[in-house]
């Protein structure tokens, strides 16, 4: 035998043995199932999809696993598209998605489920318009102005359109550097959907996941956008409100007044939203009214769904999915996400509808 090969492989083998040797003792905080939970649920639940939900799912997972110590929930923040695709292919038990299934996908998903699909909004997050401009900390913007800025038409902070929105502020003549996402994202899709609907034509890019305008600064991920806005000066961008940190957030004009971005104002959007027609009762897909003029409503929101089947072949799996979604959409679960991930909890009026849909999950007969 070739001893030298062994010698070369030795460090690797050593590392492997070391790892396997250590495997006798697991992580110190994983005590096993003796923590005295009397839950009947057990098994592993796999999900994949929107990265926007990741922080909330982390919080839900921790609480759910604590309550049901034999359960392991894995969530892969692979992206909405990947999540929907994997769900349809049968790779994961549930998907997280920043957009509801379109008609093609719905048909495929029904095929996968051998029946109706359960699709419920689980995570509502306001998207803040964040900016970094010396000496200005109470910026107000109308949808048309936001559209113009991100379109690249309004290039100076003392532009007449911005002045009209902020009669009292002293605006410097700095260049505006708009910052957008370089990766495809549900945040971009919801933000452009808002601009498309509400900007009155000053935004021409349509409703898209990929940023359509050449120019401006691009950064990867919500954290990248926040960082770019914070590092530059005269920068403006859009990001999940919970991740915006200390940055100034613009008030957005709704109807005749300027609304501050808060989770509560965002949650109200669900009440004005219309359910997509012609779908099963368990499929709560929402069309948000971006042009709403109702006061106190903040219309730039991201609504993210969890998608599962109404029936699963495996009874244990069905119980698990049901238990999981029940927890996630419960008042307790929504509050957990609001605390730990800064999302807007579902309003009580709305969560009744959602609970109804989740309750229908069962084992295939």
């Amino acid at each position: 035998m070739n001893r030298t090969t062994l010698r070369v492989a030795a460090p690797a083998a050593l590392a492997l043995t070391l790892a396997l040797g250590l495997s006798a003792c697991g992580a110190s905080n994983e005590g096993g199932s003796d923590s005295g939970s009397d839950s009947s649920l057990s098994g592993t639940l796999n999900g994949a999809g929107a990265s926007s939900q990741e922080a909330a799912v982390d919080a839900w997972t921790a609480a759910f696993q604590t309550a049901n110590s034999d359960v392991t929930v894995n969530y892969d923040p692979a992206g909405s598209g990947a999540g929907r695709e994997q769900f349809i292919a049968g790779g994961v038990d549930f998907a997280g998605s920043d957009a509801y299934l379109d008609d093609d996908e719905l048909a495929q998903a029904k095929e996968r489920c051998n029946g109706p699909v359960v699709e419920v909004p689980t995570y509502v997050s306001p998207i803040a318009v964040i900016y970094n401009l010396d000496g200005v900390d109470d910026l107000q913007l109308s949808p048309a102005t936001i559209g113009g800025i991100f379109e690249g038409k309004i290039t100076k902070w003392d532009d007449a359109a911005i002045k009209a929105d902020n009669p009292d502020a002293t605006l410097p003549d700095t260049d505006i550097t708009p910052v957008h996402r370089s990766d495809d994202s549900g945040t971009t899709k919801n933000f452009t959907a808002y601009l498309d609907a509400a900007s009155g034509g000053s935004w021409t890019g349509g409703e898209v996941e990929t940023w359509p305008i050449k120019g401006g600064e691009a950064a990867q991920g919500t954290s990248g956008v926040v960082q770019s806005v914070a590092n530059g000066s005269g920068t403006i961008g859009y990001a999940d409100e919970s991740q915006a940190g200390d940055l100034d957030k613009a008030k957005v004009k709704v109807g005749t007044e300027y609304t501050e971005v808060t989770p509560e104002a965002a949650a109200k959007v669900l009440d004005t939203a219309k359910q997509v027609e012609g779908r099963d009762a368990t499929d709560i897909a929402l069309d948000i009214d971006r042009k709403t003029e109702e006061s106190g409503v903040y219309p730039i929101v991201l609504v993210s769904y969890m998608i599962g089947c109404e029936s699963y072949d495996d009874a244990a799996k069905a119980d698990l999915v049901k238990g999981w979604l029940e927890y996630v959409t419960s008042e307790e679960g929504q509050k957990e996400a609001a605390d730990k991930a800064g999302s807007a909890p579902l309003t009580s009026e709305f969560s009744g509808k959602v609970a109804e849909a989740v309750k229908s999950i069962k084992a295939a007969s």
């Binding site: 495997s23 905080n29 800064g342």
Partner: protein, 359 residues
């Protein structure tokens, strides 16, 4: 002159002859003095209104006084030599700047979370503060270890085929070319490929650690082959011929003479290959997935790894983001330390096992 020098004429002639042969030289202290002056200027410049960057640049430019001085005193050949020496030293110092900066960044941000708890806890049921990366450390060691076990034999034997058996024929040229092509597989494509391969056997949505190993092995093999090939080629033919002439079979010649001679270089190549893949994120994200719990089974279920953990912690932090981002840097620091140790081990191995020669 003649009146003060008591030595005989013969000695003085010999000295004159020698110095005419040697040519003029700069005093031995010349480089030290020039560098000393330049360094002083750089420090003063950095502290003054010039700023660090301009100060250091100015100091660096001053060191070019040495080759210029040398050009005047010693002539062009020595001056070129000194210029090249200066450039080579500069190149090394230049390479140290980003290294220092990166290591400082990682240590200063990662050290704050480092603790026994951080290294022995997993992230199961942890939100906000606390938790650890035990699950990710284990995942990284297992997946990378398996990738090494897969790729080193394949890579080394392929290099042996190319150099020892192929001998420039068409097949070996073709394989060498394909290895070149393989170096160009982007890591994310390797991940997609591994995923597609495992879906064939295990069905949609498969996630297992060994899939990550396969993806990493695809990235690793060409690096191992290329570096081993270069090293094997550099083994002098005289050694092979001497061994063969003594009647040693070729395979024993390869195993006992050729590979041991090249071992130091091969080990360096393998270490580099491991370092190249241990930090890969994209393929592991696709095929090995991520989990908050510890999983020791390469063949079943998702596995957390350090790069994926660092990536997701920094990119998708919860609220408040600080804890998660700190953990991410802690994971990056751990990864860095693991690879440093690996490098050290490889160096010791190659030091103790390579034949004692002129090196």
């Amino acid at each position: 002159m003649t009146t003060t020098d008591p030595r005989p004429q013969r000695d003085r002639d010999a000295e004159e002859l020698l110095s005419s042969l040697r040519g003029n030289t700069l005093p031995l202290w010349a480089p030290r003095v020039v560098v000393g002056i330049a360094a002083t200027v750089a420090v003063l410049g950095a502290l003054s209104s010039l700023g660090v960057v301009r100060g250091v640049l100015l100091g660096w430019l001053l060191t070019f006084a040495l080759p210029i001085w040398s050009r005047v005193v010693e002539g062009p050949r020595k001056a070129t030599d000194r210029l090249v020496t200066l450039l080579v030293y500069s190149a090394f110092s230049l390479a140290l700047i980003p290294l220092g900066s990166i290591i400082w960044t990682v240590f200063s941000r990662g050290l704050s979370v480092m603790s026994a708890e951080f290294l022995t806890y997993s992230m199961r049921n942890v939100v906000g503060e606390g938790g650890g990366i035990y699950h990710a450390i284990m995942g990284t060691l297992l997946i990378t270890g398996a990738a090494t076990v897969i790729s080193v034999p394949i890579g080394l034997f392929t290099a042996i085929y190319i150099v020892e058996y192929g001998d420039g024929n068409r097949v070996s040229k073709g394989i060498r070319f394909l290895v070149d092509v393989m170096t160009g597989i982007p890591s994310i494509v390797a991940g997609l490929f591994a995923y597609a391969l495992f879906v064939l056997f295990f069905g949609e949505g498969v996630r297992m650690g060994i899939g990550g190993s396969v993806a990493l092995a695809v990235l690793m093999i060409p690096v191992v082959v290329r570096s081993s090939e270069e090293m094997l080629k550099l083994v002098p033919n005289e050694l092979r011929e001497a061994s063969l002439a003594l009647g040693v079979p070729q395979w024993r010649t390869i195993a006992k003479v050729v590979v041991p001679t090249a071992l130091a270089g091969i080990v360096t190549g393998v270490t580099l290959a491991i370092a190249r893949v241990i930090g890969e994120t994209a393929p592991l994200l696709i095929i090995a997935g991520a989990t908050d719990s510890t999983n020791f089974n390469l063949f079943d279920g998702r596995m957390a790894t350090l790069p994926v953990f660092a990536y997701t912690s920094i990119r998708f932090p919860g609220v408040p983001p600080e804890f998660s981002i700190d953990r991410g840097w802690g994971a990056a620091l751990t990864l860095l330390v693991i690879v440093m140790l690996l490098n050290l081990v490889a160096r010791l191995v190659s030091f103790f096992f390579s034949p004692k020669g002129e090196r």
